[in-house]
Symmetry: C2
Subunit: 239 residues, 2 copies
């Protein structure tokens, strides 16, 4: 009886992690150069096999930490890819996660530098090809991020603690891939009252310094219970 089932226990499971960052200008993704076959020397998403006694989410978090040293960052499961022939080594399913990190607040771990991990502009990567079906995985994660960023306040995860409204707008524009009207964007964000005015200004810029804000997550949670609708999806907020 159990012998029938044994044939099913021959698959491997991997986790691939699309790590997004934002450099103030463009949405970026962290890719690694493969040092082994298959797809030797191609760029790929950071990922690894899930260990026998490891939870899926733990595996995703482990990969992220090994690569960036970061713990407890935003991490979301997106989709599982399981086409029969997608991996030359056997039956391998991969669970795709994406994470949002502050690109300035970490350094790539030494152990991984050997393997060469680099930030790429997402828009550039979309024009190239990646190892395995990683291009498809990336696209799925981008699509999910686009949807999510409009209705959940996760965009802040990509910024530093303190940020300007222009930076925030820039971020939305690079994720959503279209321009937003400055005045309407400010009005909308400020009307939600989920930002803390830090009473500080930018320094070291060659123009009028902008005011700094930070995201007030406690207030956000309170307002959500009162029926706040976080929504940055202006059909015609295009500039």
């Amino acid at each position: 009886m159990t012998t029938d089932f044994n044939s099913f226990f021959q698959s491997a499971i991997t986790v691939d992690n699309v790590i997004f960052g934002f450099d103030g200008q463009d949405l970026k993704v962290l890719l690694m150069k493969r040092g082994e076959i298959p797809y030797m020397d191609d760029w790929a998403l950071p990922g690894h096999f899930v260990k026998q006694e490891e939870d899926l989410t733990s595996a995703a978090a482990r990969i992220l930490e090994e690569l960036t040293g970061l713990r407890s960052v935003y991490l979301e499961q997106v989709k599982t890819f399981g086409k029969a022939g997608r991996h030359p080594m056997g039956r391998v399913m991969t669970v795709a996660y994406y994470s949002l990190i502050n690109i300035n607040a970490f350094e790539i771990r030494p152990a991984f530098i050997a393997k060469k991990a680099t930030w790429f502009k997402v828009s550039d990567v979309l024009k190239t090809s990646l190892a395995f079906d990683h291009k498809e995985i990336l696209v799925a994660c981008i699509d999910r991020l686009k949807v999510k960023v409009k209705t959940q306040p996760i965009g802040f995860e990509l910024l530093s603690e303190k940020f300007t409204l222009t930076q925030l707008k820039q971020l939305y524009e690079s994720v959503l891939q279209h321009q937003l009207d400055k005045r309407n964007f400010r009005k909308k964000i400020l009307s939600m009252k989920i930002l803390i005015d830090l009473q500080e200004s930018q320094e070291g810029v060659a123009h009028r310094p902008a005011k700094l804000y930070s995201f007030d997550s406690e207030r956000y949670n309170r307002l959500i219970e009162d029926g706040l609708h976080f929504d940055i999806s202006y059909p015609a907020m295009l500039a």
Copy 2:
């Protein structure tokens, strides 16, 4: 070298399918009574191991067809559950799908009747417990359905080809779990111009018969390209 990897190829993958139906009154889900250990005699989601050479999506479709005889119905992957100890037989990941079917247009397959498959009101199931972590899977699928039904015209999948506006409203109410205002709902739906007025009426009802409509998917696709925003998420369309 390869021996290192062999230890990873010891997992099994299953697909579990949350099959939703709508009886005109309540949202329902199809559950099966387990005929084997573990969880003998408990209610569970229809599911099965994914075969070695089978795509994930194919496996989900196969399970659905074996159980209901239906092909090419709405089927969406939701999430993968992979806690280390979730299955007593070994490492088993399960990929959760949900599907939407017209509850009236099919009959449960004989082969499965032995195992006893029955429709349950979703609201009732949420009060009970299910085999494995199937309760958690069900909740994830319900949550996804709630989100999706507001912005994609998938609700029609649960209805017959011809339906009345009251039936459609009833459907939304049972999925979203709150009442909608009749007049505003009609106005909203009709203003989208995605329904075909069939110029027919209900028959056999003990009151004024309602007009019948059907969903015009071609027109919907055209309108989407022109920027239509399908959205049935009235914050205060509550009655």
